[in-house]
């Protein structure tokens, strides 16, 4: 048998001890139960506490299992939950930007639209929930490919069809776009998927900083762009919205 790591074994024993019923234990009880010196036990408990696996009650100083233990068991974020959490923020984004808002997640080798807020004018629009968009050319897709390794693999291995003469299809150029996306925290699509249409999107993270989706605004290129590209006011509004949804999902401020 391969050599094992003693402190991990001790940490696992502590978690089992704390999981034994609805109880809180003090430091000396934990140390005594596992036959450890108090200092050793304290060091392990503090590490587990930092990782969120253990919580310390402020009043009594006793330890119990942390919320992170529960989250490990249910890490998958339901897309309908994501929509419910995003609803007020995406409404606000549509109102402040005057453009339509889409929320997308990775599905197979594309972007699945899970929420769509109409452009707030009185024009007829069709709800696009359930539609698929390409990963490599849309702002939503680029954000997912930049932050989610699975989406990245799909986009790199996929065909990268040229929808317009502005679509980035070459591998090195595409990687450079993703590098830029990660560096500035948002992606754009200026007539790379549809002629006359531009969009900007930013990533939504969950409480463990995992990318779970992307949110963006889309509109006529004349409205959403100025001489320098996407209007900075729109970029800021989209990023604010993405941060607000992420915060609602439990991600820390960043």
């Amino acid at each position: 048998m391969a050599r094992t790591i003693q402190s991990l074994e001790r940490a696992a024993a502590m978690l089992r001890l704390l999981a034994g019923g609805e109880r809180r234990l003090g430091l000396s009880e934990v140390a005594a139960a596992l036959g450890l010196a108090k200092g050793t036990a304290h060091g392990i408990l503090r590490t587990l506490q930092q990782e969120g696996f253990v919580e310390q009650d402020a009043a009594s100083g006793r330890y119990q299992l942390g919320a992170e233990m529960l989250r490990l068991g249910q890490s998958y974020l339901d897309v309908n939950e994501l929509r419910a959490r995003a609803l007020v923020w995406t409404d606000d984004l549509a109102r402040s930007s005057g453009e339509s808002v889409h929320l997308g997640v990775l599905h197979q080798s594309g972007v699945l639209i899970v929420h769509h807020v109409f452009r707030p004018d009185d024009s007829r629009q069709v709800l696009e929930v359930g539609a698929m968009q390409p990963l490599h050319s849309t702002a939503l897709g680029k954000v997912l490919a930049a932050y989610d390794p699975v989406a990245h693999a799909e986009a790199v291995e996929g065909g990268r069809e040229a929808f317009t003469d502005r679509t980035v299809t070459k591998a090195e150029e595409f990687e450079a776009v993703l590098d830029l996306t990660r560096a500035r925290g948002w992606a754009s699509d200026i007539e790379e998927t549809w002629a006359g249409v531009a969009s900007v999107a930013a990533p939504i993270h969950n409480r463990r900083r995992m990318p779970v989706g992307a949110v963006g605004v889309t509109g006529a290129v004349e409205r959403v762009c100025d001489g320098a590209g996407l209007r900075s006011r729109l970029v800021a509004a989209v990023r604010d919205c993405a941060r607000a949804v992420s915060r609602d999902l439990g991600a820390g401020r960043f």
Partner: protein, 511 residues
């Protein structure tokens, strides 16, 4: 958001709701500038009884007004008017001289007046006052609750008759306190709240002396009935001192107003734990022969009143909660859609959640919930689908009743409330109604309605056309269901409904 809000002035709306009090500050576009909210205690002294501490509510209202104004970074000078919307029918009596409530407020859900309502029906039954008030005798409404308090609080009837006691629903309580309380507070209510007391005549919009007499309520306790949009007085203290208090609307009527349903036949449906559907019937109080309630929709200043038909569904969102909490089939309410979407149809299963009987349009106390059409083929995903369809079909039954009563065809349904984030439900709703379902951009239609009415009263907005111009479509679901499928499914639903009836025997008590 990063972009600057339009500079002031603003309107502040107070929503004194069943579980919390909120204050929202709106700008001229109807956009939310700041929100503050505080929950209050739900008091359950006995099974079926629900009370609120009115003093706690007033304290919370003051706090959320302070909170919202502070978050907005504005002062009283930036606020043109205060609007009020409130949980309807919740009943309070208080001492005129001290402002002290004589008893906890009796909440609309409280059923202590069940027996009293049967007694008040005498040989006529629950429709005894329907012609005058538009309402059936039911424990929700305020009149019988006043009577219960007068009968059960020591010495209260004598003090009430001597003019020492004031009655109010939560709109009256908040306005009276805002405008000075014992020190010159204005004792008023609006037509929409008054229409839920069972004491107001729908045609004259005055307290009905005959009903007051039958119900045993002295006129001395009653507030003056005013329109929904006019200046009642000025705030006397707090951060908004000096600002006009300029609207009051019951919560469902406020949502109708916020959804800008100003034309005859326009309807809104609010999807929460239960669902309330209101349809504008313009200047006519339409009598319902199909189990709906006739109510005042709103009245702007000295304009003619606008009436509405109302249908309520007891269990909609509550059924999803039941699937989560009692059945454990889902972890969150949103997951019902994921589960339901994993199958193409209901697999032949229909779920009628008549947990406490059937409400509109049937009104059958003896009904209990049923899941019909079960076979070995049916999975939990089919049941999840049946759960969502139950909300859609129950809505269809209400809109059918409205069409029969009013003769008006539903052109489209404006929706709000938490369940509107459920895309499958909204599509199903459009399919079974065979009408477009539209979600507005501002979800807070209740507060917005109160703000709109207050803004109209002080000239912040010129007219209802300006409010309509503010309305924005955030999403629209159009019918995609084949007519023959719709007909077959509706027939199956009605068969399932039939199977809920008569579950309780005559002599059985409710369980």
């Amino acid at each position: 958001m990063t972009d600057a809000h339009t500079a002031g002035p603003f309107i502040a709306a107070i929503d004194q709701g069943t579980t919390s009090s909120r204050c929202i500050v709106f700008d001229t576009d109807g956009r939310i500038v700041a929100v503050d909210q505080k929950e209050h205690e739900q008091i359950f002294p006995k099974p079926g009884w629900v009370e609120h501490d009115a003093a706690e509510i007033w304290t919370n209202v003051r706090q959320v007004v302070d909170g919202a104004v502070e978050k907005a970074g504005i002062t009283a000078a930036d606020v043109k008017a205060i609007g009020i919307t409130n949980q309807r029918e919740t009943t309070l009596l208080w001492d005129k001289a001290t402002g002290e409530p004589v008893h906890n407020a009796i909440v609309w859900q409280d059923t202590r007046t069940d027996a009293l309502c049967r007694e008040l029906g005498r040989n006529v039954g629950k429709d005894r006052f329907r012609r005058e008030t538009g309402l059936p005798l039911a424990s929700y409404f305020a009149g019988p609750k006043i009577r219960w308090l007068l009968d059960n609080v020591d010495g209260l009837r004598e003090r009430a008759e001597a003019g020492e006691i004031l009655f109010g629903t939560m709109d009256s309580w908040v306005i009276w306190n805002l405008t000075g309380g014992p020190d010159g507070g204005v004792h008023v209510t609006d037509v929409t709240n008054a229409s839920r007391t069972m004491l107001m005549n729908l045609h004259t919009l005055e307290w009905d002396p005959k009903i007051l007499n039958s119900m045993g309520v002295p006129a001395a306790v009653l507030p003056e009935i005013r329109s929904s949009a006019e200046v009642y007085g000025e705030a006397k203290s707090g951060v908004l001192a000096g600002v006009p208090v300029a609207s009051a609307l019951g919560d469902q009527q406020a949502a109708l107003f916020g959804q800008t349903c100003f034309e005859e036949g326009e309807a809104k449906s609010t999807y929460g734990t239960g669902t309330f559907l209101l349809m504008n019937t313009a200047g006519t109080p339409v009598n319902s022969y199909h189990g709906l309630v006739t109510t005042v929709g709103y009245r702007i200043g000295d304009q003619a009143p606008v009436y509405a038909l109302e249908g309520s569904i007891a269990i909609t969102g509550a059924l999803v909660q039941w699937m989560r909490d009692q059945m454990g089939l889902i972890n969150s309410a949103a997951e019902i859609e994921t589960l339901a979407s994993s199958v193409e149809d209901n697999g032949g299963a229909y779920f009628v959640p008549a947990f406490s009987g059937l409400f509109a349009p049937y009104w059958r106390d003896d009904a209990r919930g049923v899941i019909a059409g079960l076979t070995r083929y049916v999975t939990k995903a089919h049941i999840a689908r049946a759960v969502l369809e139950a909300t859609a079909w129950q809505t269809r039954e209400i809109t059918d009743a409205m069409r029969k009563d009013s003769g008006t065809e539903l052109a489209s349904l404006k929706v709000d409330g938490g369940m509107t984030s459920n895309n499958l439900l909204m599509q199903t709703l459009a399919d079974v109604l065979d009408a477009p379902v539209v979600r507005p951009l501002v979800a807070e239609t209740t507060c917005l309605g109160a703000a709109y009415a207050a803004g109209l009263a002080v000239g912040y907005w010129p007219d209802t056309d300006a409010l309509r111009a503010n309305w924005r479509r955030a999403a629209e679901w159009t019918p995609r269901m084949d007519a023959a499928d719709r007909q077959r499914e509706y027939k199956n639903w009605l068969k399932a409904v039939e199977r809920t009836m008569g579950w309780l025997e005559n002599d059985e008590q409710e369980h």
